[in-house]
């Protein structure tokens, strides 16, 4: 992709209308579409969580039988059973949507596609048409996942309600003979293919298309994060594909990979799933880490402290994160030595993660900090992710996990790292790059209100869940013994703030588009040193047809 003049200046070069988006080969447009898919997935998943917390607000079952009648037209006599099943379907779909159709599309497909080429000075991704198919595979996957809700799963019930980790035999014909699980498996096939192709695209782009002078050790940390993430995706998604394909053949073609009666083992599934599943959580959080580095640096007006340490920390988190999977399986009856190994390896990951937290604080130290909305989200991230991280250290201890496994302490842990951690990073990135992507400036008041409402809300929702876990409340439960009522009530009350925060967010977007305040090339000032801020807002349809030259010895 060399220089300017007539190459590609014909009418096909800047498509308009429906084909611009349907057949896009432009990384910015595809990034925007990914963000829209992620927003849709996220909003649906959020509404599911509103229903879940509404049900859990009081002991007893109040909400789901009504929902089952509304959604599936369940008979009044069947309504209670259908409601119990629907609750399990809701928590399952909530998890699947949040992970595969909110966090990954926005962080990797959205911000990754938009800003990796810009940050390395490239005109686009290495394989623009592959990029397009990755996007539409994901949309097709979402369609299949939604269809699964409306077809039979367990006998007489609709949808698959076995949790996003879908262990057999509950997910095989023993527990779910109907086609719902098959739809879920096919959705996973498509989403996996989408991400594998995307990962190939990122790796090729980052290795081959950096502008002259941008060595690997001068790349912005967000790009490093996407590089490590892409390698993880390529390594673990094929394993997930194998895992779910064997489930598909068990269900439909008479194999017995996971069926003990046929010589198989349900634990084989768990090992395969978690070999994917644990790196998956790092796949979600590493791009968030990269984003936070960019934002903390920009608003402290200082380069990131300990750049090389940050790079090695991300690489070691990726490597270590790939060899700890069975800490999700401490209670399956694993040998003592196996538990010892996984416990040891899991605890080690705390070290590079801690290095990152301290490096961000050290970046702020001595800086000249501006508390614009993206920085509030980033500072919030550092605190809440630390809280999620330390409860992770607790759970890494197999002996302690014995007390907490499949209870609300685990739910609190992963929601702190995800609902608070990853989501805060998402909002930080959203407000940071919204001016660049749209050319419009958001209202700082609305953005700050969004932050405070969500900060209060998610803490009120999830902090009490540590108490519930300590007291023994199991997870994935539609109803609970009355002793757990107080903290469930408090937790559900927090959803009011979260819902308000979501409404403020939507209004902030609408308001920014209506007011059309011009953002300019770089609204953030001297601290914003990466290449995207040298372009217009929004950037031209094709940028860097003349490659920028990177000079100076510093990283970005």
């Amino acid at each position: 992709m060399a220089s300017s003049t007539t190459a590609g200046d014909g009418a096909h070069d800047h498509p308009r209308g429906l084909s611009r988006f349907l057949f896009s080969t432009n990384h910015k447009d595809i990034g925007t579409l990914y963000i829209i898919v992620g927003a849709i997935g996220g909003i649906i998943a959020f509404l599911l969580s509103v229903a879940i917390r509404a049900e859990l607000a009081e002991p007893g079952i109040q909400v789901f039988p009504v929902l089952a009648r509304l959604l599936h037209g369940a008979d009044p006599e069947m309504a209670l059973d259908a409601g119990k099943n629907l609750y399990n379907v809701f928590i399952t779909v909530h998890g699947v949507l949040m992970i595969f159709f909110m966090a990954m599309p926005i962080l990797i497909g959205g911000f990754g596609n938009w800003f990796v080429p810009l940050m390395i000075g490239a005109p686009d991704m290495a394989f623009p048409r592959l990029n397009n198919i990755s996007l539409w595979l994901l949309v097709a996957s979402l369609v299949l996942a939604v269809i699964s809700i409306f077809v039979e799963g367990a006998p007489g019930m609709k949808g698959f309600g076995g949790g996003w980790t879908f262990y057999p035999p509950l997910s095989s014909n023993t527990g779910n003979p109907g086609p719902a699980m098959d739809f879920v498996i096919l959705a996973i096939h498509l989403a996996g293919a989408s991400s594998i192709l995307g990962a190939i695209n990122f790796i090729t782009t980052i290795f081959n298309m950096r502008a002259p002078g941008m060595t690997l050790h001068r790349m912005p940390l967000f790009v490093w994060a996407l590089l490590v993430t892409a390698f993880l995706l390529i390594m673990v998604l094929p394993v997930l594909a194998g895992c779910v394909t064997m489930l598909l053949t068990d269900r439909n073609f008479g194999t017995a990979f996971y069926d003990p009666a046929g010589g198989g083992d349900p634990l084989l599934f768990q090992h395969l799933l978690w070999f994917f599943g644990h790196p998956e959580v790092y796949i979600i959080i590493l791009p968030a880490f990269g984003l936070i580095s960019q934002i903390v640096s920009t608003f402290s007006k200082k380069p990131v402290f300990g750049y090389l340490g940050m790079v090695y920390a991300m690489v070691s988190i990726g490597v270590l994160g790939s060899i700890v999977w069975a800490h999700h399986m401490y209670t399956v009856g694993m040998s003592l030595n196996a538990q010892r190994y996984f416990m040891f390896a899991t605890m080690v990951i705390a070290v590079p993660t801690g290095i990152k937290i301290f490096s961000w604080i050290a970046t702020m130290w001595g800086g000249s900090i501006s508390f614009r909305a993206p920085m509030l989200w980033a500072i919030g991230f550092i605190f809440v992710f630390t809280m999620g991280g330390v409860t992770g250290v607790v759970l890494a201890n197999a002996g302690a996990d014995r007390q907490f496994h499949e209870g609300y302490y685990v739910v609190a842990h992963f929601h702190y790292t995800l609902s608070l951690g990853a989501v805060f990073a998402l909002f930080a990135g959203f407000y940071y790059w919204f001016p660049k992507m749209t050319g419009y400036m958001y209202s700082e008041t609305l953005a700050k209100l969004n932050f405070w409402l969500l900060f209060v809300g998610v803490n009120v929702v999830f902090f009490p869940q540590h108490f519930l876990g300590l007291a023994g409340m199991p997870r994935r439960y539609i109803d609970y013994p009355d002793a757990y009522a107080l903290w469930n009530r408090v937790s559900s009350a927090g959803m009011i703030f979260v819902s308000l925060a979501m409404l403020v967010w939507i209004y902030a977007i609408i308001e920014a588009f209506l007011r059309k305040r011009v953002a300019g090339d770089n609204p953030w000032g001297a601290g914003a040193t990466t290449l995207e801020w040298t372009l217009s807002s929004p950037p031209p349809f094709h940028q860097f047809s003349t490659l920028p030259r990177i000079s100076g010895s510093d990283h970005m």
Binding site: V394, G472, P481
Partner: protein
């Protein structure tokens, strides 16, 4: 728009910090009843087994203090940095991006903290997994959606029974909703009870918070765990792995009694459950 940043942040941080002690106080005031969850509880239940007590000690004396200190330390640093280095207070940013000593310290200190945690933690793990000599062995099977128990014939047993949750409508006064069952599983106090665990259909998990016990029930697999109850009483547990629509409705009740009372119960149970003694069942096969 940016006036009063320091005051604003300080007030917010204080309000946030006040939130947690208030919650803690509310929870600590909760009453602890043995064997069942404490209403509004914020901590681990009272433990009735040595493994449970060791777990409680590890969490309350090692893990919780360490993680609280780390979280407060990070919060403190963030508040300090926001206070001292905001653009009004510090208009010219420094250029410091390296400090080898600091980087070594924040690598080594976490390692030392982890070693400190690991020592009692590995000890607890070994105590949980290695099963001592037992005098009682019970085979527990998970089903959709109830637990069944078989008592060994050569230990005075030779019978089995199912343990079904009592539905809300049939609860008698004093019975706990979602926890009370029709047939309690009785065991002797102060003796090592070995629990062998499997499932008839899908994966379940057998968990009793007051014992520090949790183990998956997997079809085609026989898992083992153990407990030694140190105090007579009734102890409740639940299913800890999602197993279908009634996952929340298959509780566990263990009643610990003296050895003589246990032997009396064995005789009564043998008669009561003789009629319903079911043959050994094969693990779930493909159901078409």
């Amino acid at each position: 728009m940016h006036t009063g940043n320091r005051h604003y942040l300080r007030r917010a941080a204080l309000a946030g910090a006040a939130f947690f002690p208030v919650l803690l106080f509310a929870g600590l005031a909760a009453a602890q009843v043995e064997g069942q969850p404490a209403p509004g509880g914020v901590g681990l239940p009272n433990m009735a087994t040595p493994v449970g007590q060791e777990t409680q000690l590890l969490y309350n004396s090692v893990l919780l203090p360490v993680i609280s200190l780390i979280a407060l330390f990070v919060l403190g640093l963030l508040v300090y940095v926001a206070w001292k280095f905001n653009e009004r207070a510090n208009p010219v940013p420094s250029k410091l991006t390296h400090h080898t000593g600091l980087e070594i310290a924040w690598t080594l200190v976490p390692v030392l903290i982890l070693v400190f945690i690991a020592i009692p933690s590995f000890r607890l793990l070994a105590h949980q997994v290695e099963i001592p000599e037992s005098t009682v062995t019970i085979k527990v099977t998970g089903n959709q959606w109830y637990w069944s128990y078989k008592y060994a014939e050569d230990q005075g047993g030779g019978f089995g029974f199912d343990q079904m949750m009592i539905p809300d409508a049939d609860l008698k006064p004093g019975q706990l909703r979602l926890l009370a069952v029709d047939n309690e599983a009785v065991v002797p106090v102060n003796e090592v009870v070995r629990v062998q665990l499997t499932s008839n259909d899908v994966i379940h998990a057998f968990g009793i918070p007051s014992f520090g016990v949790r183990m998956d029930a997997i079809p085609g697999r026989l898992n083992q765990t153990w407990f030694k109850i140190e105090k007579e009483g009734v102890y409740y547990g639940q299913c800890y792995f999602i197993c279908g629509k009634d996952h929340a409705f298959m509780p566990i009740v263990i009643r610990a009694v003296s050895r003589p009372d246990y032997e009396k119960w064995l005789v009564e149970a043998k008669q009561k459950f003789a009629a319903s003694d079911s043959p050994v069942r094969v693990a779930a096969s493909v159901d078409r």
